[in-house]
């Protein structure tokens, strides 16, 4: 029996786990992704020389410190089936899909990743991921897609591969549960006038971050070249009644500004035009934008960018206004980044009903079930960025500690 089962190992879950482990409790983390660590695992650090406080490394550093703790067990690629809220504990059925690499045997030497012939079939763990062992994607892996290939299994020094691994169902009992299932990124293809999905060089902020995390730079999807004129459009899919959500996702201003900054600082030969409606960074505006002062290659424009269209060669024309000029013009760019926010996951609603948690009409979990030992942390409650989710995870862990002390 564990003290606390955390469903959703993102920033909030990691924050909670760190506190609980430090207080000597035993923790289990269930996550549907192949690695525990949340969306931060896919994002890149936005600092060039100076830290921009994007907080991507915060939960990941915490997770890497916790990795070898014996009081923690993780269930990656797993979902919760049924749940029984008893008087003394909570019993959950956890369905684990096979990862094919045994983390207890893996020594993270990287040989399998180097030798795999299919790009993307064997994914190395990003820094801070738990477990620190590669993940084999069955859909891409040659061995599972009809070919004969066991290069990875053969080269592994510790025989950590098991192609025959099957799905397992485990019963986990815990004294308390924290639900921290987070958000899904909003798909910008619903916002038709931006052309995401059919214009090749229109990408989302998440695509941009993944690209930088993998290649170390931005590349135009059409020709692989580094872009020289970039438009960054904020609030895509949020604050809208068409093709997105009505509320504000809150964290995208913070990330958008930092993405713009990291591009301007790392690649000073790039021209960046940044379009936003309201700047809702947590810090005051002058602080959020002081890096841009005096730089010639950045325009920050309060005014929504309009239609994005193809202008040939994969370039894009965007109708927008520039600062100091009220007229609407068309500008040409070779890459457009649409900054997207987040929305509650449909799975969160399903999980909430199993644990008797209330969900509001927007899909956020609005009330926990403390009497029965079920707590809620992080952005599945309301839009939050990584920093706030991490702090909320800790605050929830504290409430759980008190509850455990008082109740069970």
């Amino acid at each position: 029996m564990k003290d606390v089962l955390i469903i959703g190992g993102g920033s909030a879950g990691i924050g909670a786990a760190e506190t609980l482990l430090a207080m000597g409790k035993s923790v289990a983390i269930v996550d549907s992704a192949p690695f525990v660590g949340g969306v931060a695992l896919e994002l890149s650090c936005k600092g060039d020389v100076e830290c921009t406080r994007c907080h991507v490394c915060m939960p990941r550093d915490a997770a890497s410190r916790m990795r070898s703790s014996e009081a923690m067990e993780v269930y990656p690629l797993s979902t919760v089936g049924s749940a029984t809220l008893g008087t003394k504990d909570i019993a959950l059925e956890v369905r684990m899909s096979p990862r094919f690499v045994d983390p207890k045997k893996c020594i993270a030497c990287g040989k399998c990743v180097a030798i795999c012939p299919v790009k993307g079939a064997l994914i190395p763990p990003p820094f801070g991921a738990i477990p620190n062992a590669p993940y084999l994607d069955k859909e891409l892996c040659k061995h599972f897609q009809g070919g004969k290939c066991d290069l990875c299994a053969n080269i592994c020094p510790t025989q950590a591969f098991n192609f025959g691994a099957r799905e397992k169902v485990v019963r986990v009992r815990a004294r308390a549960v924290i639900v921290s299932t987070g958000l899904d990124p909003i798909d910008p293809s619903g916002v038709l006038h931006y052309g995401y999905g059919h214009l090749r060089n229109v990408i989302s902020s998440l695509d941009a971050e993944r690209m930088v995390a993998e290649y170390g730079e931005l590349r135009r999807p059409s020709d692989g070249q580094r872009p020289k004129r970039i438009a960054i459009i904020q609030c895509v899919g949020s604050r809208t009644t068409k093709g997105g959500v009505e509320y504000c996702s809150k964290f995208c201003c913070k990330y958008g500004v930092r993405i713009a900054r990291s591009i301007v600082e790392r690649w000073p030969d790039t021209q960046v035009d940044f379009f936003y409606m309201d700047l809702r960074t947590f810090e005051p505006r002058f602080e959020a934008l002081e890096w841009a002062v005096g730089k010639k290659n950045i325009n920050i424009s309060q005014g929504v960018a309009g239609i994005v269209q193809d202008s040939g060669n994969g370039n894009l024309k965007v109708r927008r206004t520039l600062p100091g000029d009220a007229s609407i013009e068309e500008g040409e760019y070779d890459l457009v980044i649409l900054t997207v926010g987040g929305q509650p996951r449909p799975e969160s609603r399903v999980l909430a009903s199993k644990l008797s948690l209330q969900v509001d009409p927007l899909g956020f979990i609005s009330k926990d079930n403390r009497k029965k030992g079920v707590f809620v942390a992080g952005s599945c409650k309301s839009p939050m960025d990584i920093e706030e989710s991490f702090a909320d995870g800790k605050a929830t862990a504290f409430a759980v500690l008190e509850w455990l002390g008082a109740m069970r």
Binding site: S44, C45, G47, D48, V49, E50, C51, R53, V56, C57, R60, D61, S64, A108, C109, G110, K111, C112, V113, A114, I115, P124, P125, P126, F127, G128, N132, P134, V212, A213, E214, Y215, G216, E217
Partner: protein
């Protein structure tokens, strides 16, 4: 430029070394020309050490530390950058290419970014003429 390149990398044992270590699990390895000297903080690095390394025959020096304002020990990487800039000025004065010395600030999560920067740095050093001090201290 012929012969094997020899680049000394002064690395802090905190975020910078985490980023370096993570290179291995992604199936890559550190380029052969880099020799790692671990420090408790890049702030420990003195200007004379960088000059010593060049004098002893190093083709290049990479100083890899935490991001500024995120330094594990608060001020170390900022002080280190100041010293790297100072060394560049000294090198200009004595007609040695200032590009031989470079500072890299990274977070623990940026291992692929660091690797691509180090590879570019290695290429740049390789394109420079041979250092006059090769084998000076053997």
């Amino acid at each position: 430029m012929t012969g094997k390149l020899n680049i000394v990398a002064f690395v802090c044992e905190n975020h910078a070394f985490s980023a370096l270590r993570a290179i291995s699990v992604s199936g890559e390895s550190l380029p052969e020309s880099f020799h790692i000297i671990k420090l408790p903080c890049t702030g420990r690095l003195e200007t004379t050490h960088m000059l010593d390394a060049l004098r002893a025959g190093a083709d290049g020096i990479a100083v890899i530390g935490c991001l500024e304002e995120n330094c594990y020990h608060d001020v170390g990487s900022m002080l280190a950058r100041g010293r790297v800039e100072r060394v560049k000025e000294i090198l200009k004065d004595i007609q040695i290419e200032p590009d031989r010395v470079e500072m890299f600030n990274v977070a623990s999560v940026s291992s692929s970014l660091l690797l691509s920067r180090l590879r570019k740095f290695e290429q740049k050093i390789g394109s420079l003429p041979a250092t006059p001090f090769k084998g000076a201290m053997r």
